[in-house]
Symmetry: C2
Subunit: 112 residues, 2 copies
């Protein structure tokens, strides 16, 4: 919908476009929380994530993880054990986002 002009465009239409892409990728109720949860260790299992992120449902956990993986922010590794063990971890790209999310969290603690 947005024309997405050059990133040199000073208007919010253009420079906001990168922001709109960010919001598309990590917006919504759960994705940022998932990224922060995953940032606290190397990897987490599906069930651990579900316990850690208070209130998330099965459906949202599965679909959010799938979208984060599609956007190259999360990696899924399945181990051939029984019962199946699946570990989720952040990609390097996502790890560069984490400090910014922490600033956001700090800002929220001080200002909201």
């Amino acid at each position: 919908m947005s024309p997405c002009l050059s990133s040199a465009d000073p208007s919010v239409t253009g420079s906001g476009c990168a922001l709109r892409r960010v919001l598309d990728a990590v917006g919504g109720k759960w994705k940022i929380l998932l990224i922060v949860a995953l940032s606290q260790t190397d990897e987490l299992r599906y069930g651990e994530l579900r316990k850690l992120v208070y209130g998330i449902t099965n459906t949202m956990l599965a679909s959010s993880l799938k979208e984060l993986e599609a956007d190259g922010l999360v990696m899924r590794t399945q181990y051939a054990e029984m019962p199946v063990r699946v570990e989720y971890s952040l990609t390097d790209r996502a790890r560069t986002l984490v400090p910014i999310l922490m600033e956001l969290k700090d800002w929220g603690e001080k200002n909201l």
Copy 2:
């Protein structure tokens, strides 16, 4: 809904709680874009904002501004002129958020 434990709580339930508050305050499709638009000058009129933030509707502009004001992020000033002139500006509190949003934008440009 979230119990919002102490901010020392290492789980996402607790430490994520500040993040959830941030998401409540500036989440959604338009608020971050509005803050960035407002960060580019001292103040902007209603009509200027509508032109600047590509695609926003009257309803969303008015309701987003109202909520941002209620959260202490935006200030509304009405001048006794004819026709009525209303200027919107960021509060100091919101201005401390802007650098973080810029980092988010830069991250999006490099990583999405």
